[in-house]
């Protein structure tokens, strides 16, 4: 008995919701309710304020009142009488800026690997041939502006998790993905690595184990003494360690939102606002 859930897939995959039934899911900080009615799907969610919430429960309690009473409820008209709902995940739709817990400097001609944690977006589809109903962040990160001044820059998300220099120190959470960022400082000046910008829309998302996510590795090479670096996206993730420390094959969950071809030069490190 798997209660309609396709086994061995964690929260990614298909779930069965009978007509008239409401099902509840807790994925990290988000509690999600899905209700199937005749010709209609109803989806509602509530968010906790803890961005590092580890919760994962695919059978949570459903509210006593109608889920439409919930603040974020939405309804979808649906002619298909299928009772199948599909969950998938994507990376953020803007770059994500992450900071160090303590100031870190990379001397000239040195390199360092930082493990960056970014929030996931949940994609909900329904029907025999899945049609997109909703895409939303499992935790809405704050906005931030990444640039040299208030006149020039890029709108990004701010990651609540600090980057870490050891993978073991970066929690693998069901609603976040981890990326290994190799920073090569090939200039003659030291690099102050207070902030790192992760080009999330350009990365593919992979699943390692049931509820652990990562992206392919990226390499930033800094040759001049400024905050710019050339970006190189690796083909596959280097993070392949499962929950028990065993080697696990990474499975592709979603392709990048925007494809990047060749090496690009981008502002990758700290901005003016320190």
């Amino acid at each position: 008995m798997n209660n309609g859930r396709i086994p061995e897939t964690g929260w990614i995959g298909g779930f069965h919701v009978k007509h008239g039934q409401t099902r509840g899911f807790r994925i990290g900080p988000m509690t999600l309710w899905i209700q199937r009615l005749e010709n209609e799907w109803r989806i509602a969610h509530e968010d906790s304020l803890d961005p590092m919430d580890e919760s994962l429960n695919l059978e949570t309690e459903t509210p006593e009142q109608s889920i439409l009473e919930t603040k974020n409820a939405v309804r979808f008209s649906f002619a298909d009488d299928s009772e199948e709902i599909t969950f998938s995940a994507r990376l953020a739709d803007r770059p994500v800026v992450t900071r160090s817990e303590y100031s870190l400097n990379v001397p000239a001609h040195e390199e360092v690997t930082a493990y960056v944690s970014t929030p996931l977006w949940m994609v909900i589809s329904a029907g025999r041939k899945p049609k997109l109903l909703l895409e939303m962040p499992l935790y809405r990160p704050s906005d931030t502006f990444f640039g040299p001044s208030t006149l020039e820059g890029e709108l990004c998300y701010a990651s609540e998790a600090f980057y870490r220099l050891k993978l073991d120190n970066q929690p693998m959470l069901p609603h976040r993905a981890v990326t290994a960022v190799l920073v090569r400082n090939q200039s003659d000046k030291a690099l102050s690595l207070d902030l790192i910008k992760l080009p999330a829309p350009n990365l593919s998302l992979y699943r390692i184990g049931e509820n652990m996510f990562c992206t392919q590795d990226i390499v930033y090479t800094r040759t001049e003494g400024d905050d710019f670096a050339s970006l190189d996206l690796r083909q596959k993730p280097g993070i392949t360690k499962g929950p028990a420390g065993d080697k696990i094959k990474a499975l592709l969950v979603s392709k990048p939102r925007e494809k990047v071809t060749g090496n690009i030069v981008t502002r990758a490190f700290s901005s003016l606002f320190k």
Binding site: L49, V97, S142
Partner: protein, 286 residues
Amino acid sequence: MDSVLVEINRVLSSEEARAVIKAIVILLAGLLFAWLLRSRLARGRFNEGHIALLRPLISYIVIGVTVLWALRELGLNMSVLLGAAGILTVALGFASQTSASNIISGFFLMAERPFSIGDYITVDQNTGEVLSIDLLSVKIRTYSNQLVRIPNETMLKSNVTNITRFPIRRLDMKLGVAYKEDIERVREICYEVAHKNPMCLEEPAPFFIYKGFGESALEFQFSPWTTRENFWEFTTQMHIEIKRAFDEAGIEIPFPHRTLYTGSVTEPFPVQVMSADKIDTNSAQD
């Protein structure tokens, strides 16, 4: 039949007919040239505002020159025409000083580019979206969906604020708390509220400035940043959330009190003291 053809041939080979044909060809070529220039303009590096301003101007100049040329081909004495045109120009010049000033101001605006079509600007008391930048005026649509036409000359002379030029905006909240409150605690609460709101930018970070001892409050300014698209929603949310956070923390936001005093010369206000029973009866009647 032959006689008709001979007649047509005779007419076409005459000097007058050739002049008419030449004039028509010149006119057509002029129209084609004007059309080509206008299409090149649309494909060039000009923005919508420039195109709106230059397009009619190019048409008027090219067509004007072409018509004069065609008239010359038809044998019209240009010196007479130009003399008449000179007198007409003087008369028109006096009559259309304002229009000419607006056209020239339009060129200055075009060169300076303080705003583009689609930007939100404030000119004098009017704030709205720029719909068009024309030869004589700029048209804006206000928030209340009214069309305001502002002459280019006025635009050049007035202070114009472009609200949407830059991607982010700062919200300056002028706040005050009672003298008994701990200003450090107030500051912490403000930062906490800003941090919890995802529309508040992490960078540039919000800042808190203590402004001084006011008449009835400790006055300060709290300034978080947000994107220009979220500005109005963020303004409302931040005020609601700060008020709620202050209420929860028991922090008082003072407001001016008014004491009514009748002085020593006039009679005091008549005050009627009512018993509790009577008040209840009155309330029930209400």
